[in-house]
């Protein structure tokens, strides 16, 4: 199976707090997997670099660009995702939402995802459950129960910083468990009964190769 973990980060500045958090989470997931004897390939998508491509797609009723297509394929082929956004105006940033708007409706079927957000203060912490979780659930992703919210203060030392590290570890453990579980299914199907069949994913980049034979499309309407 594919072993890539894709990190989608919507930070705009350089260096970016959002990217910093994204790196800590992906590092933790990699560490969890390594401890289990598994390897993972981490790929980072900086949405800032796709902002113009996303605007092009939105302004042309869906015309894709080559760079955006590569990102869409990367996401749909991933084994798992980490998505991180800064909080803008009480929600995820616009470019973050535009990227998910650009995905095929079947792009994230059954995809295990860690949701994370950064903000200046802790008062935005509900963004994970008000905005990110419903968005990812709508797209039929499997959202890890531990979300990671980091206010600026959480990057300091002391108790708050310790709690953030703990949350990252817990979420990483959940995602690593999912990835190992999915990987295990390929080798041993014993728990297939416990797991519903995962709907197929499609990036939407290439046209659907499965053609419905016309006789079936025309069923009940034969001529004479």
């Amino acid at each position: 199976m594919n072993r890539s973990l894709v990190v989608i980060t919507a930070g705009l500045s350089q260096p970016s707090t959002t990217r910093l958090l994204a790196d800590r989470i992906s590092g933790a997931v990699a560490a969890e997997l390594t401890a289990r004897g598994e390897a993972i390939d981490i790929q980072v998508i900086e949405l800032r670099e796709l902002a113009v491509d996303l605007a092009t797609m939105m302004a042309t009723a869906g015309m894709p660009t080559a760079r955006l297509d590569r990102a869409r394929e990367l996401v749909s082929d991933a084994a798992g995702l980490i998505v991180v956004t800064p909080v803008f105006a009480a929600s995820y940033s616009g470019v973050f939402k535009m990227f998910f708007d650009a995905l095929d409706p079947d792009a994230l079927n059954g995809m295990p995802v860690i949701i994370a957000a950064t903000a200046g203060t802790a008062r935005h912490s509900m963004v994970l459950d008000h905005a990110l979780r419903p968005l990812l659930t709508h797209l039929r992703a499997v959202v890890m129960s531990t979300g990671i919210f980091a206010a600026t203060d959480d990057f300091g030392s002391g108790e708050q910083g310790h709690h953030l590290t703990e949350r990252i570890g817990r979420a990483a453990n959940e995602l690593a468990g999912q990835l190992a579980h999915v990987a295990g299914q390929g080798l041993d199907n014993t728990d297939a009964l416990a797991t519903p069949e995962r709907p197929e994913r499609t990036s939407g980049v290439t046209i659907d190769a499965k053609v419905t034979p016309f006789a079936r499309l025309l069923q009940g309407h034969t001529g004479s």
């Binding site: 894709p64 080559a66 290439t206 046209i207 009940g220 034969t222």
Partner: protein, 390 residues
Amino acid sequence: MQFGIFSVGDVTADPTTGRTPTEAERIQAMVAIAKKADEVGLDVFATGEHHNPPFVPSSPTTMLGYIAAQTDSLLLSTATTLITTSDPVKIAEDFAMLQHLSGGRVDLMMGRGNTGPVYPWFGKDIRKGVPLAIENYHLLRRLWREKVVDWEGEFRTPLHGYTSTPAPLDGVPPFVWHGSIRSTEIAEQAAFYGDGFFHNHIFWNKEHTAQMVQLYRQRFEHYGHGSADQAIVGLGGQAFMAGTEAEAKRIFRPYFDNAPVYGHGPSLEEFTRQTPLTVGTPEMVIERTLASADYAGDYQRQLFLMDHAGLPLPMVLEQLEILGREVVPVLRREFEARRPAHVPSDPPTHTSLLAEGPQSRHLQVINADLPTDATATDTDSTTHGQEARA
């Protein structure tokens, strides 16, 4: 190979003057554009069908009939005829009438429409878009090919003992194209009947267009109409020309930047890179258009979008002069030079279909010989169909 223009008939303000033409002016402009296309040696004029502002062409056969009366050889077509929301009985009648009046200078392109609300306005459900396109078109084929039709389907009032009048000219139904940007079902539909497949192409990268055309070509061969490279393909294109590239860009840029569909979005340069839009010299348009055959295969019809985004009529007519007199003659020669002998140059026309005689597959409602190598699903559904008929 056929060359022509397709118009969506948008009424758009000229961004350089701020002036919006009236509907009357735009309708008369479309007629003038069609007549100019004929005059400069283009083969096809195709009009869109829309039922909402800012578009004017809601009644294609009225417009095409009027143009037919003022032209001698121009082929009249559509881009597209709404097979989802229009009554197939009315389409059968209207286009058969146009066929008679124009002396067979008619083909048409089926499409599903551009805005959601069109469906409820005509009492249809957009979620049934594809099934409507499948069922309605099949009824249309029967109305043009059977003297008396008995019909019961999902979407239309049943017909019993119905005869569509007038019958198609010389008993030969117009050739039909199916236009689709990304619905594989429509490519499959075109392939099943051996009809033409048109990819609008003008908002899409060549990789996507190539995939859709390739799918149609493979299925065309699968259904026994010929080899994949003999399938009947049409492509859209878009150009603006001047003596130099810089001059063309200078004139066209304000129209591009404010165009209803892509304006305020990608830059002219970016859009040119990603789509067939060519803004430059006639030589650049020739080179770009010829390259289409490299990824879509040798094809039979090229339609250009030339009148949109508020371009004033005199400018459009000037563009058509360049297109017809400088670009198309070279394209004809070059496309013929590269085309293998077994690949048809032209799509079927009334004359060619009439010459095929009564055994022509074009006259069949469905193909009598469904593929024997069909999948289990193929076989199953065919059996269902036969039961339904019995």
